[in-house]
Subunit: 268 residues, 2 copies
């Protein structure tokens, strides 16, 4: 299976934790991890590569030259890395038909095969949106007039690379960013939603992009089905959304102990 990650040096440790959980819960699979970056050192890449090989998988670094997005709009807090995920198809081998993009602030706690094989016919992506009124409505209003039905989270993104090569255009993205500078908050996620919302296949967030901040919300919404037992047995991807991260001091949350457990295994 092909996995895509994009990274700067600050996220190497969380990435290892995420990958460790992926490997441990998918022991019979072999992964090729494509890593888009512009600033990692060779020693960092070597270390990551060794780590991945020890688990029977492979690292394929993709260096993105500093000047690649030179003509793309950017400003202080949108770094050019925001375009990596949107334009990954341009950097990946032509032979790939699909890839699963993963944020580093996740744990993969069950097999990903079924997610990976989601039928993507006619779609550019598959993703989940977080169906919490507060999250959904704020973003819909913010991105009016783009008329989105749902605001998808771009932390777990299954990509139909064949469709993307035909239908996603660099200049359209740049123009959108240029025009909407003032209202973009999470730039790549905003672009994804404003421009491609209609071409995103909807995934079950409780299975594939479980927002770890909202245990009670999910449990209530599912009439009690989505409890801890269900999550541990069925949820594939836990996503530690939000500013507070489980690898930082002072974090607190339902999945803190579990995260630290995988962290210990990954960084031992």
């Amino acid at each position: 299976m092909n996995i895509l990650v994009t990274l700067d040096a600050n996220y190497i440790k969380p990435l290892k934790v995420a990958l460790k959980s992926l490997f441990l819960n998918n022991r019979d699979e072999m992964f090729t991890i494509y890593l888009m970056h512009s600033s990692l050192k060779q020693t960092e890449l070597d270390d990551l590569s060794r780590f991945i090989q020890e688990h029977g998988s492979m690292l394929r670094p993709i260096y993105v030259a500093d000047d690649y997005f030179l003509d793309a709009p950017a400003q202080s807090y949108y770094t050019k890395e925001m375009y990596y995920r949107l334009l990954a198809f341009k950097f990946l081998p032509e032979s790939l038909d699909r890839i699963l993009y993963l944020d580093p602030d996740i744990l993969v706690i069950n097999p990903v095969r079924e997610l990976y094989e989601t039928d993507l016919k006619g779609y550019l992506y598959a993703a989940a949106y977080h169906d919490k009124i507060s999250v959904k409505e704020v973003n819909k209003i913010r991105l009016t007039p783009y008329n989105i039905d749902a605001y998808y989270n771009s932390g777990v993104l299954l990509m139909n690379l064949e469709e993307q090569r035909q239908h996603i255009d660099e200049q359209t993205i740049y123009q959108f960013v240029e025009k909407n500078r003032a209202r973009l908050i999470m730039p790549d996620q905003d672009v994804l939603n404003a421009l491609y919302s209609k071409k995103i296949k909807s995934l079950d967030e409780m299975l594939y992009n479980y927002d770890t901040r909202f245990y009670s919300h999910y449990k209530i919404k599912s009439n009690g089905i989505c409890d801890m037992d269900y999550i541990i047995h069925h949820t594939v991807i836990l996503h530690f959304c939000g500013r507070k991260k489980p690898w930082k001091k002072r974090y607190s949350g339902k999945f803190h102990a579990l995260y630290k457990h995988y962290e210990k295994l990954a960084l031992a």
Copy 2:
């Protein structure tokens, strides 16, 4: 290493979870699990034995005949199993000099070697007491006039079998229970504390008998040192004390996800 557990059929699943965590976090060790019971079926024993052998360790069942404690005082809610832990030394091979008793409602999340090798010279046991005012004081008052300094928790009990063979007397225990019927709440733990408190070596509860209900208490008491990171890297035994158990519906707590994780691995 020798491990002692005592069990009825209701606790087979939690026991497997506890043992799984012990095995996974002590991969280079070989354990002999002594299991005192009076009611397990042969199929249950065979299943447990297979499970333990798959992890490179051994089960040694010790059947305790129904009539063994016939002359011991008991009543509705003190079953005769209460004496198993106190009189285990009578049932174990003479060749053993020490054994680690473990309750089934625990997780072992780090190596136990250091605990197992605690110097027990002059002591009958090593155990931890829960240094929370509420727990400590109530039990001290309750067990006046036995004048105990600390109320030890008997869920994790390292036993000095050589000393016990010389100094623990069945009749003394029976007499104590007979005399104090009315005030015994947790009978074996009460006996242990009232009769043998002075001969118990004190263990660090944050390392060897971490009461999972009291995360904040431990964190404050330790000036912030005993946080989740510390626990996952240093605590050896998490003890799910109290009536609410992590394998039951409606449980909620800091270590819920971690427990369910080990449960999945154990019962898969």
